[in-house]
């Protein structure tokens, strides 16, 4: 059998229109939420990078102090 067009009778087109509008809005909102989450993830990665570099600098500074106090012969 060849592909035949199928005609579907819709009893309440306004209800369908409303539902489709609702669906469209929900999809739009979801896309916006995903963009927000993406932005937050990027910010989070930046913060973690900043944290890591801060930590490395703190470790360096502390090692200067500990070397001075505990191993003065090294300096």
């Amino acid at each position: 059998m060849d592909q035949m067009p199928v005609f579907v009778r819709i009893h309440d087109p306004s209800e369908i229109n409303q539902l489709v509008d609702e669906l469209r809005n929900a999809i739009h909102e979801t896309r916006e939420i995903l963009t927000t989450i993406d932005g937050l993830s990027k910010q989070e990665a930046e913060k973690i990078d900043a944290w890591r570099s801060n930590f490395a600098e703190t470790r360096d500074k502390i090692s200067v102090v500990t070397n001075t106090l505990l191993e003065p012969e090294r300096i």
Binding site: L19, L40, F55, I62
Partner: protein, 131 residues
Amino acid sequence: MAKKAKKKAAPKEEFFVAMNDPHVTRVSLLEARRKTLESMRVFQELKELRKQKIHEKSKLRKNLKHISATINKIKKTMPHINLPSEPKPKPVKKIVQIEKKPATLPPKPRSELDRIEDGLADIESKLAHLS
């Protein structure tokens, strides 16, 4: 009694370290303190970000549920039609050796992910049937 005990305790050996450049040590200590405080600030900001992210994720979950419910409503609103399907050629059966399992495991509780995967499989089979 406590005073007597303190008096009896052996005097601690005193230890001095010569600091050739105390200024450098002081600056290093202060900078380390500054960096630690900055790290604490970053940590607080990170906590806020994560809280915000959790909030956004819950919004996303609600939205996805809403989308799913709306799709179901649309499906229910549309009239149900059974289209005649074309007969498909039967696939050739392959002889496969099935290994016997030692014991049957108790069924695992079905998670949300399992239900979603079942729904996807159902939709895919329907699409395959239509095409």
